[in-house]
Amino acid sequence: MIAEFGRQVRAEWTKLRTVPGWVFALLVAAVAVIGLGLAPGMSGSCGTRGPGSECKPPIGPGGEMVSDGLYLVAQPLAGDGSITVRVATLTGAIAGEHGKRPGLVPWAKAGLIMKASTTPGSAYAAVMLTGSHGVRMQSDFTGDIAGPSDSPPRWLRLTRNGDRVTGASSADGTTWITIGTVRVAGLPSTAQAGLFVASPDYTATAGGPFGLSGVESGPAQATATFDHLARQGQWTASEWTGTRIGGPGNGGPFEHQDYQRSGDTFTVSGSGDIAPLVTGAAGLGVSITQTLVGTFLGLVAIVVVGALFVTGEYRRGLIRTTIAARPRRGLVLAAKATVVGAVSFVVGVVASAVVLAFGVGVLRSHGVYVLPAGTGIELRLVVGTGLLLALSAILALAVGAILRRSSAAVAGVIVLVTLPYLLAVSVLPLGAAQWVLRFSPAAAFAIQQSATQWAQVDNVYAPAEGYFPLPPAAGLGVLVAWTAGALALATVLLRRRDA
């Protein structure tokens, strides 16, 4: 059985490599992925307007790129201590095409913070009220713990004990609920502690019948009033210092951020977000997935080879020669799948490795900010692209064996895999796009997602921006299921039908 399979794999490999058209198509697949990936399809302004125009987002304690824009009213706190305040009101304004209008974005934040320093990207822990996500305890940009879903007025308390910071909230200042305790390794013995207000950009999809055409976004500002401020511990300074950290560039509609104190009441206005950096509408630039934009085109060539690898034999009657030489038909199909899958995998791995190695540089040289990704993610993208092509080739082979017609098989698989992807990243409304990328084999493109989707960052997490509705492995799993199903049906039919 194993010897038979080995011989058949060798025979099928000989078949594949001895048809010049198929070898050419496989090269075309690689060239398509590499060519589209290295073509400067987009441009940006990062670093193209001389020194100072480089896009250099701060790096968070975890090594990831972050947004660190907020207005901070703080004093140094030496060692352990706590700070308590009541958030009396939280309001906001949004800048749109027609000027400012009132409005509070869902992730507007107002509350207490202990931060290593005023340097963007420094470690912190904070407890806050949000626009519409209730009370949260957040730390070091990526940490996010949900508290009660209340709105102002609300009491908040932040307590430091060594490198542990505990957030709590209360409706009346008497009965407290602990939201969570986090370890903030980067917090120095003397930290900046106080009030903060931040407001990420406003983003919304203007949902026309077709397309993401209308992604609406613009700066926003939040304003909070705080009172009943109380402190414990060693507070070394006598005065509060207002500092604007990061946030939107100069000249924006909310450039004038500050705080006012009137007796016991602080009014603080802030703009920007203190959160992980995302790509797309609410963030900056693109992810490294952008370099793999040619995959869909390479996939078309791969699908053609996968389908013709079996339908070509039906067309010429060669399938009878094949089955006469190997009467165990399941073995024939398995060997064909192995060969066409392995070859497509190699094409995908080589092409995506080349594109990732050089494509990021091309984008950056055209002023596009490319969010870096770790080696692990790069590896997953390379192997994943190989798997995406391999599985698609096997799916095409199976559909070819089922339909026994070249044109029908090629068209069918392109409609199943490539078309949903193309529609999802172009004209489909977000909801339809996400639905399509959950159930069609095109879900496997999720394996190429490199940017992280954060619950605590509002963004247009659309396929067009490189965000897929399923996690990478699950998306690939959808294609695996389709391929396995088609292969099973093909095997049954191949055994049952007269050749």
Binding site: R7, A11, G21, E313, G317, P327, D498
Partner: protein, 307 residues
């Protein structure tokens, strides 16, 4: 186990309402060329596909060397076959076509070049098979069948598309393969192609065997006692009838005589003074023997066709 290398027993197969095989039974023995003859649609190709396990029969069985073909691990070393010489990927070279077949059976690559040499394709082995003439494709198909040095060969219409030179070559080639002790089954819809090729003939019609006999036996049976007589004398009919024979006019001056040996025909014509230019004992061709045999099958077919 019998000596037969291919054994077909009671094969039945229907395609919807059409009966393709209706109890097909015959055996193919080693050391001789067996002709598999019948009109188009008689079930020859279907039988061959069933033998190869490509099509499933509704009933009956086909054995190759005593085993079902589907159970063979390296089938090309047991039975070499050529069903359709056109079954080639046109952009693949002839040599690569044989190469993948060799790899599938674990046959050494040297066999590829040997068989190409054997069928006379060495000079064009690295050309695209798509550019081959039908005759060259038949040769390539023979090479593929020979690749595994099988004890049995099965060729469907190998003479199709061959030029006269090719047909002569094919005849000699098939005879030499049989002389090596192989069982060779060759189908054809033209009985004439079997003359001087086959030792044994299986004649089929409408999915069943009509005759299964040695060629010599078949010719003897068909020869009967027919005599061809050349004369323009009308009296021939009466003269020979009086002697107990039957003369049927077959042309302006030709007659066919049955029921009398040539000597008695000559004696009778001489006694009655009937002039004649030629008396010849008829030497039947295989074609005629075949037509005689299938005559009944055709008769039987007429009412059947109206079903």
């Amino acid at each position: 186990m019998s000596e037969a290398t291919i054994e077909v027993t009671g094969l039945r197969k229907r395609y919807g309402a059409a009966v393709a095989l209706d109890g097909m039974t015959f055996t193919v023995r080693p050391g001789q060329v067996t002709g598999f003859v019948g009109p188009n649609g008689a079930g020859k190709s279907t039988t061959m596909r069933v033998i190869l396990g490509l099509d499933a029969a509704d009933e009956g069985r086909a054995l190759v060397g005593g085993r079902p073909y589907r159970a063979l691990r390296r089938p090309l070393t047991r039975l070499g076959s050529l069903l359709d010489a056109g079954a080639l990927q046109p952009s693949r070279t002839a040599r690569n076509h044989l190469l993948w077949l060799a790899h599938s059976q674990g046959i050494p690559v040297r066999r590829v070049d040997e068989t190409l040499e054997q069928v006379g394709l060495t000079g064009v082995a690295r050309r695209r098979a798509g550019g081959y003439s039908l005759g060259m494709r038949q040769r390539l198909g023979i090479a593929a069948a020979l690749l595994g040095e099988p004890p049995a060969l099965m060729l469907d219409e190998p003479f199709n598309g061959m030029d006269p030179e090719g047909i002569v070559w094919m005849r000699g080639f098939l005879r030499s393969l049989a002389a090596e002790g192989r069982a060779v089954l060759v189908s054809s819809h033209l009985m004439g192609e079997m003359q001087d090729t086959a030792d044994h003939v299986v004649v089929v019609g409408r999915g069943r065997v009509i005759a299964d006999a040695g060629v010599a036996q078949l010719l003897a049976g068909a020869a009967g006692d027919r005599i061809t007589l050349r004369t323009d004398a009308i009296a021939v009919a009466d003269v020979l009838q009086a002697e107990g024979g039957v003369a049927t006019r077959t042309g302006p001056d030709t007659w066919s005589v049955t029921g009398l040996p040539p000597q008695r025909v000559i004696a009778a014509l001489g006694a009655h003074g009937v002039p004649f230019s030629e008396v010849a004992a008829h030497r039947p061709s295989l074609e005629e023997a075949y037509l005689e045999l299938t005559h009944n099958a055709v008769d039987y077919r007429a009412p059947g066709g109206a079903r």
